[in-house]
Amino acid sequence: MKKIIFWWVLLLPLLVINTVFGANYILNNNSVDTSWAVNEIRWWGSTKYTSEWNSVVSAWNNYGDVNVAPDIATTYEDLTIDDVYVEDVSWAWRWWASAGADDLELNTWFMDGHSYAGSYTSSQKKHNIGHELGHAHWLDHHSLSSNFLQSGKRSVSSLWTQDKKDYDYLMDNVYPNQ
């Protein structure tokens, strides 16, 4: 009996730690093209939030193996980005997987503050873009604070603990081209 109690006392904290800190948030879709012995997301389209876009693309590129870069004549487009202006909705941005290039839309109605919800600061716009690029990388969202993949209106300008943990997991276990 003493032995059982001893092991429970020893293992219980580990179980709790694993439950709380051990989860990975991974989607079942992504925009990463792995077909040419590289991991890359070639994007095409335009957004008025150029400085925020470039800053966030650099943040993802500086951390991991997936190269996010503009689509050129010799590559395939993996992601299309667009600014849209939609008033009768409650989303500020969205991403979805398609048969061809996946899509990322940024709703200028909310981002520029035309709505009752107020405008987005530069770091909130970066969070929007970083969040959707996270989905394009295969990461799912959650409610852990300070991360790109935390849902909602947040001020986040760079990858944080859970973003890195999930990205590390993908690089170690999922992306085929290491």
């Binding site: 909705v89 398609s98 009752y116 919800a117 107020g118």
Partner: protein, 217 residues
């Protein structure tokens, strides 16, 4: 050229044509896929209060007809929307009556692929829903907590539906959320201006207290 050769050529041509037609219309449809759209919302709409703050009209209705119409303004996006004719049964926020046209941010494209906001379902004729909508277009909130299927039985009578609605917990939760509306959060105004509870008259607030008063006769 003899008759047999002509006959064989004709049959072969028809066969090739049939296979082509099947591939173009049939095969593509058989392979239609569902594209789950990940929307990122302006607030945490898992919270009922925020759903009520951010929408203009909240009511229960029965789907009469799928009008299959993608909205005219849809040129900006690849995600189709569908219009539905619905009959209003019960109002929580706003005073909508009779049959109205509502818009779901989901639908089929020309390849018969379905675009659906993550965590939601495509509405079907005969079903009864509790839904939160925005603007005069009655656009249904794309968040999973913006729409709730109350009943799937298209033959259920109105009085049976009323009984069902009276005992529904979500209706009670949303009524309570409406009364306790908060317009600002962390310094941001997240509320819509329309049909706010604070703007109801004293008589309207008194009337709202009785759940039965929300039903449309």
């Amino acid at each position: 050229m003899n008759n047999k050769l002509i006959k064989t050529s004709l049959i072969s041509s028809l066969l090739v044509l049939s296979v082509s037609v099947f591939w173009f219309f049939g095969y593509q449809n058989l392979n239609s896929t569902v594209h789950y759209v990940d929307n990122n919302f302006i607030a945490d709409f898992d919270n009922d209060k925020k759903v009520l703050w951010a929408t203009d009209n909240v009511f229960a209705w029965k789907v009469i007809e799928n009008l299959w119409t993608a909205e005219v303004k849809n040129w900006w996006s690849k995600v189709p929307s569908t219009l539905f004719k619905v009959e209003v049964i019960y109002n929580i926020k706003g005073k909508v009556k009779g049959e109205v046209i509502v818009k779901q941010q989901a639908g089929y494209d020309k390849y018969w692929d379905l675009y659906l906001p993550e965590g939601t379902q495509y509405m079907e004729e005969g079903q009864t829903y509790l839904l939160a909508t925005k603007w005069d277009s009655y656009t249904i909130m794309a968040h999973p907590n913006g729409s709730h299927l109350l009943d799937s039985d298209s033959k259920k009578s109105k009085s049976d539906l009323k009984k069902l609605l009276k005992s529904n917990q979500k209706i009670k939760d949303w009524r309570n959320a409406y009364i306790n509306e908060v317009i600002y959060e962390n310094g941001y105004k997240i509320s819509s201006e329309k049909n706010l509870y604070k703007n109801l008259t004293k008589e309207e607030k008194e009337k709202f207290k009785k759940l039965e008063n929300g039903f449309i006769d």
